[in-house]
Amino acid sequence: MGGLEKKKFERGAATNYITRNRARKKLQLSLPDFRRLCILKGIYPHEPKHKKKVNRGSTAPRTFYLLKDIKFLLHEPIVNSFREYKVFVRKLRKAYGKSEWSTVDRLKDNKPTYKLDHIVKERYPTFVDALRDLDDALSMCFLFSTFPRTGKCHVQTIQLCRRLAVEFLNYVIASRSLRKVFLSIKGIYYQAEVLGQPVTWITPYAFAHDHPTDVDYRVMATFTEFYTTLLGFVNFRLYQSLNLLYPPKIDGQADVELKPAEGKEYAMDSESYLEKLSALTSSLARVVAPTHEEEVELDEFPVEGETAEQMDARKKEQEALEKHKKLFEGLRFFLNREVPREPLAFVIRCFGGQVSWDKSLCIGATYDVSDPSITHQIVDRPQVQQQVVGRYYLQPQWVFDSVNAKLCLPVADYFPGVLLPPHLSPFVTEQEGDYIPPEKLKLLAMQRGEEPGEESEEEEEEEEEEEDNNDKEEEEEEEDESEKEEEMKLKKLEEQKTQSNKALLVTVTAGKLRLEDKQRLEQEQQSEEKRLAIMMMKKREKYLYKKIMFGKKRKVREANKLAAKRKAHDAAVKEEKKKSKKARRA
């Protein structure tokens, strides 16, 4: 023996973690302040590997933070400003109570503020880190920018969110980096590729919010506080990377166009600036005047260890991307007033199209309905009264589907009043064995360059007719067959009766050569071998194996279920069609 007595929980995992309450006491902060700090600094609880060891032998549910994280918080300058703010509030309350208005003014002048710049830099040491974490920031800013200017949070926050969101949209338009759009029942998902990083965000549909009561807006506001700071810096950098002015300015010549002609004041200058920007129709001013439409031919840098095939593939991909970016180049759209203006304008502009709307709808309309050069008019009504020749009237889904398909889809399916084809999620990449909806298969074929077109429909109809004929014939045949069978049966019965009357006839019939399917035998043998081997597995491995196989089987089952559902649905639709056709004929 010798040395000091070893005590429990003084080394190892127990010393690496700290409970929330102890952390709070160490930092001398109230719980709301601690939460704010955690949100701003991005500190989160950790799940220890052995909870009982960390929890000093107890199994009570507790949240643990890393002690290192908490120590790291100790030196945070923001903690001090939290305390200062607390003191400020106390002083202010006192001054109000004593009606010392000069003191109140003085205190308000010296209100403690803090900046989050250093935290942004600390949490995201490189710009790419910040881009990777942009999803939540964007979604939150887009949500806050749709809030009404009353009640739930500060008006300044809402305005700032709106500004930042519009700035980001303008960047995406300018850089043509939008890749995917998805209209879900929750909202609209967008995915852009910013400097090689996929950034996905969701915006709600433009309706007034029914503010829930079980949501803590303070938490959301704290998150938004951080996210606005982050997004501001990111925007700045993004604009810089495109040589655009920040804060964004509308291009001079476009600005003149946008001025209301009648000289009537539209809104205050500060407001109309944001409105014009959010119209998304005009291009932004650049720091350096752009040399017009230069086609940058990419230099080829052969990467070592890359074969010619890979190079070719890469080149092809690059070309496809360029083509995708110019999807709506040269097309002129007009949005009717019933379609959501902002998402459509954003998407169309992102792919190089020109867009306009009714002048009374929003600022920023560039041309009129009667403009003869309009190629597509987006309509969301069952029918259009006065149609102008020379343009397509389409439902808004066409725009989104075309973007996701990376090609301008045939317009016939999207005319007003027509039953729309399903809108598929562009975020799903089907793996081997997954269920793929038939629409997706069609789309993939179209992308490969095959032309399924209308022929298939005609064929289908023909087939149907043929089938109709066949059915009738078959029915007749069946009737014949059944009659024949009955006759045969009767005959047999008679024969049997006659036989039983006679003495038992023993006859030897010629045996048939049983053909053994070698392949099947082989398969059976292999499967049996496998079964036997599975029997010999160790308990733990068998458990794991069964778990994996269960997951696989479930996947297959789900795919099969979807396929069966689809089949049933298609059959029902076909039946309906047939019926209606027959009714029409009759």
């Binding site: 949100i39 500190i43 989160y44 950790h46 799940e47 790291f72 995201y124 040491p125 490189t126 710009f127 974490d133 939540d136 979604s139 949500l143 998805f182 209209l183 879900s184 029942i185 929750k186 909202g187 996905t200 709600p204 549909y205 919010h209 029914d210 503010h211 829930p212 949501v215 803590d216 938490v219 959301m220 998150f223 501001g232 810096f233 700045f236 920040y246 959501p340 969301d380 009504r381 439902q395 399903p422 809108h423 598929l424 999620s425 799903v428 909806p437 071998e529 496998k530 079964r531 036997l532 081997a533 029997m535 010999m536 597995m537 794991l544 196989m549 696989k552 979807l562 559902k565 689809r566």
Partner: protein, 656 residues
């Protein structure tokens, strides 16, 4: 004066309203009332009190004589009111005086006043609100003072109060209580934060940093117009509604909208954002290693059964005849004859190659166990029936052989001194003798199992009892029995002789004890790790034992290795009923209640360092489950790689 001014006015009204007699009467009453009152403004006697107090009375107050002053009669109903409204041209200017309850007609002046007040004008007609303003003082600076008063002394000396205030402020500034206004921060809000970014700068804590997982991207089912197969059917929707919100695989019900115009707002949008926020800062994070193995790699690489042939693969023969479940099987050492005992109270002898029942021996009781004498020169079968063990000479095969057996049994000379035996050896009666029964060993309790020693002289029987009399060892040539154990060590399931050495295995519920018969001591105690051992078999080499148990496990013991099982095989789904080793081939089989016989290759190497190789090679199925029982006994052919199994369906099957 007031009276005077009022009188002419009233007379005028009287002239106006001459048509209404009722009014006249009323007014007359009013006049009278007025006369009685004094010259004050308030014309009732009760004073300025809330008039509701008199609401329910016909009078208001009392006069000087103490008589009630009655209210003017108001018995107008709705119709009268209406008529009055229609007929009286002054109705609109008539108001009721609450103090007296009388109707008063407003004069023109009064109406004018009301109008003016309603318009927000002054009540007095003659008041002019827009008279030109006259300054009290001129705005021009004059050289002479307005007053001639000399200046006060206090205007020459500084104010003490102000001094006090200033000194307080100065003190506060000195003490740092009052801070100067902060200079305005004029750095831009946003700038290039990552201008000098260091790609290698990673914070110390980032070693443990677990980045938050991204939100799951939406699938087809979230679309506003999904393919029809993604919509929930009625049952699925009901199931979805009944599930706990945390258990649902989808947090929403897929919906189909005909057009984008019809899509409503998502009611839980803010909730979802909020939940994401909560996840980001409240949810404990942990790195989880996902097992990324190909399930095929987990399957052990075993030698192919094809390379381990011969072993039984197909069902060759079915021995039918028994009417109840066949409990036990035994085979003659030559492999020509098979004996089976059944619950129908009979023992049948079969020819193995033809499945022909050669002989049926009714014994009048459930046959628990049969055992053919392993000595090829003796033709004797031990049969357990109720409380006795019958030694039967089946009289099959070589006549010389079974004749010699009979001679051997008859050559017994009873010892001179009668010894106390735990059982009774009774020679068979004539009738029994004709059936083939030679000897009857009568036990005190029912016998469960009987097994022969390899030499064919000794046999052991197991009695279902709790005492130390559970296991008995008999010597057939000397008709002599003994009880080897002094104390019971638990319920004995089965016993077994070692094929070569003088060892004796006794399986109780959970342990197998190995006794040395020569030294008469316990040599080993094997832990089976099973709940209840059902059967036991020994490898012909004598170093390996398998134990089947009712908890569907099969334990392989290597006696040289350890007292714990070398391997526990969980091949069967239900309880194991019996296990068997082949005499020559490296095969062992197990029969179970699930109706299957599993044949395994069990190679034992002479090299002590090499562990036995166990490979399942065949699952044989054929028996029909009856009464939840499947296979009751399995048995290998002594020379061929064939296996027999007897089942609860009353058949015996041979697999070759």
């Amino acid at each position: 004066m007031a009276q005077a001014s009022r009188a002419p006015r009233r007379s005028r009204t009287l002239e106006d309203d001459s048509s209404l007699e009722e009014n006249k009467a009323l007014l007359a009453q009013n006049e009278y009332e007025e006369d009685s009152s004094d010259e004050e403004d308030i014309r009732n006697t009760v004073g300025n009190i809330p008039m509701e107090w008199y609401q329910d009375f016909p009078h208001i107050g009392y006069d000087l004589e103490g008589k009630k002053i009655y209210k003017p009669i108001r018995n107008k109903d709705e119709l009268d009111m209406f008529l009055e409204k229609m007929e009286n041209p002054d109705y609109w200017r008539t108001v009721q005086d609450k103090m007296t309850g009388a109707d008063i007609k407003l004069t023109d002046e009064q109406i004018d006043l009301v109008h003016r007040l309603q318009k927000g004008q002054f009540g007095d007609v003659h008041f002019n609100p827009y008279e030109p303003a006259v300054d009290f003082f001129t705005h021009e600076v004059m050289i002479h003072p307005v007053t001639n008063r000399p200046a006060d002394k206090r205007s020459f000396i500084p104010s003490l109060i102000e001094k006090e205030k200033v000194s307080k402020l100065v003190h506060a500034i000195k003490m740092g209580w009052i801070k100067p206004r902060k200079p305005k921060d004029d750095t831009p809000t946003y700038y290039d934060l990552w201008a000098h970014e260091d790609p290698n700068s990673i914070l110390g804590r980032h070693k443990m940093h677990v980045p938050a997982p991204k939100m799951k991207l939406p699938g087809h089912e979230e679309s506003y117009n999904p393919p029809p197969e993604y919509l929930l059917s009625e049952e699925e929707r009901l199931a979805w509604e009944q599930q706990e919100p945390a258990q649902r695989r989808l947090s929403f019900v897929p919906q189909q909208h005909r057009s984008l115009r019809a899509v409503p707002a998502f009611p839980r949008f803010i909730h979802e954002r909020f939940e994401r926020c909560l996840d980001l800062y409240l949810c404990p994070r942990q790195r989880k290693m996902r097992v990324n193995v190909d399930p095929e790699d987990l399957i052990p690489k075993l030698p192919k059964p094809r390379d381990l042939q011969p072993f039984p693969t197909t069902q060759a023969l079915v021995y039918r005849g028994h009417t109840s479940l066949v409990r036990c099987l035994s085979i003659s050492p030559s492999g020509q004859w098979l004996v089976s005992g059944s619950d129908d109270g009979s023992v049948r002898f079969w020819e193995v190659s033809t499945a022909r029942c050669m002989k049926t021996l009714p014994v009048g009781g459930v046959v628990k166990s049969v055992a053919w004498n392993p000595n090829p020169t003796i033709c004797l079968v031990a049969i357990c029936v109720e409380q006795s063990v019958l030694l039967v000479n089946p009289c099959l095969g070589d006549k010389l052989l079974y004749g010699a057996t009979d001679q051997l049994l008859e050559s017994f000379v009873p010892p001179e001194e009668e010894r106390v035996q735990p059982v009774q050896w009774v020679p068979a009666t004539m009738e029994e003798h004709s059936k083939g029964i030679r000897l009857v060993v009568q036990h005190s309790k029912a016998v469960k199992q009987v097994t022969w020693h390899g030499k064919g002289d000794y046999f052991a029987s197991v009695v279902s009892d709790n005492s130390n009399m559970q296991v008995l060892i008999h010597q057939s040539s000397k008709r002599w029995s003994q009880n080897p154990f002094r104390r019971s060590k638990g319920l004995v399931q089965c016993v077994l002789f070692h094929p070569i050495r003088p060892y004796f295995f006794v399986a109780t519920q959970r342990y197998v004890r190995v006794y040395n018969l020569l030294k008469q001591e316990l040599t080993k105690k094997l832990m089976t790790n099973c709940k209840w051992v059902s059967s036991m078999a020994i490898h012909p080499g004598g170093d390996n034992i398998i134990c089947g148990s009712y908890d569907s496990k099969l334990a392989w013991f290597d006696l040289d290795l350890s007292t714990r099982p070398y391997q526990l095989l969980r091949h069967h789904k239900r309880a194991l009923r019996s296990v068997a080793f082949h005499k020559h081939y490296p095969l062992f089989a197990s029969g179970s209640d699930d109706g299957s016989v599993i044949v395994c290759h069990g190679m034992v190497y002479n090299d002590l360092l090499q562990n036995p190789l166990l490979v399942p090679v065949k699952v044989l199925k054929g028996h029909v489950l009856t009464l939840d029982l499947g296979v009751l006994d399995v048995l290998f052919h002594p020379t061929q790689p064939w296996v027999f199994s007897s089942g609860a369906d009353g058949t015996i099957r041979l697999y070759t």
